[in-house]
Subunit: 214 residues, 2 copies
DNA sequence: GTCTATATTATGATAGAC
DNA sequence: GTCTATCATAATATAGAC
């Protein structure tokens, strides 16, 4: 790591951008695009109000930067795993990917909340998001996991299967506060995450239970 | 139906309240609590701005009225079915309830969006919602469906199972705009709803497929 | 019970000093 | 690049006429 405290200008700038994007992801996920105020975002980022229009021009463009950042992190998280899946049989592939996805959703519940907020209306923002991030990700996943075929259920609509996986994986974490109030337990504890993965394997890949905690 | 056009005062009042609650449900679901403006709500309801504070005092109290209304309709939808389930074996019970739930979620995707918005932060609103509506509903369902036992999976955490069911059922409809942009098909068509139910039966009650479209 | 008009506060974005 | 101060608009809620 280079010298601390007073950084070079372009480094400070990059840090401010980074802080704004991370804070904006949280606030967009918590309060939705319309409910997220620029003041709440800059307060959480610990930067001045005017830093936001300086770096991103508008709230809308900040939102796009947040989407790029989040899907980038999602892809990054999986690229190492995916590289190691060459030649692995598709059942094992699915098992490993599902565990990864659950752990990702548990540590980044904001992504699913962000997506549901974007999907609640058919806006230009949503069209941009689908074409730039959702469709490319979907095509990669479909190819990699051969989703419809390996489950042995050709009759299932690929959209239903996709949203069933997303829904079962992400809902406990997207509704974490509700989950905790209802059950008294936090869904993002390691122990509960492992039980969650076991349940999902039982649901989507019967016979694969218990082999997920590597 | 009583006489049309110029109604009696208390009837007009009830109609205004009803229009406000229905409009507010849509707007809260689309834009979240913070993003929902009272102007957007009264515009959609077709009433004057001042009608909102007159009938509900604050946006917060309107939100509670929306929750009461939505969970009331949910319970109502199921009470007829539930009354007919006396003595029916629990597998059949689950099959029928699941189909009902999918059809409900397809025609009322707002309820799931409303819930996820409420769950995105641990607020006083969420606590109120869990204690007044979520927990009572959960206890009724758990009792009725004997959820954990009939699936033959005692090891599953009841919270995981609950949110897995909610997630698989509601996600395609909560993300309907995204689903349509991605697949080119609307998830709320009757044909796709029936395929969705078949998939869910295959997932949660293997062996029960195809018998759901009554 | 419902409306028009308005008080008050909060919002997104900008200007200009540093 | 970042800050303080500020503009123009839009928000929730209220007052008072009808």
């Amino acid at each position: 790591m280079p010298d601390a405290a007073p950084h070079r200008p372009q480094q400070r700038s990059a840090e401010t951008r980074e802080k704004l994007v991370e804070a904006a992801l949280q606030v967009f996920a918590e309060r939705g695009f319309e409910g997220a105020t620029t003041r709440a975002i800059v307060d959480r980022a610990g930067v001045a109000l005017a830093a936001l229009p300086y770096h991103f021009k508008t709230k809308e463009l900040l939102w796009r930067a947040v989407a790029d950042h989040s899907f980038g992190r999602f892809a990054e998280q999986f690229s190492a795993r995916i590289a190691g899946l060459e030649g692995v049989d598709s059942r094992t592939r699915l098992r490993l990917l599902l565990g990864d996805y659950v752990r990702f959703a548990a540590s980044h519940p904001e992504l699913h909340r962000f997506m549901q907020d974007a999907s609640s209306e058919s806006t230009e923002r949503l069209r941009w998001l689908v074409e730039h991030h959702v469709r490319p990700m979907y095509e990669t996943l479909a190819e990699l996991a051969e989703l419809p075929r390996t489950t042995g259920a050709d009759a299932w609509h690929p959209g239903h299967l996709l949203y069933a996986v997303i829904g079962t994986v992400a809902t406990p974490y997207a509704h974490a506060a509700e989950f905790e109030l209802l059950t008294g337990e936090r869904p993002d504890q390691k122990q509960l995450i492992d039980r969650h993965i076991d349940m999902l394997l039982g649901l989507f890949l019967p016979g694969s239970e218990g082999a997920s905690h590597e």
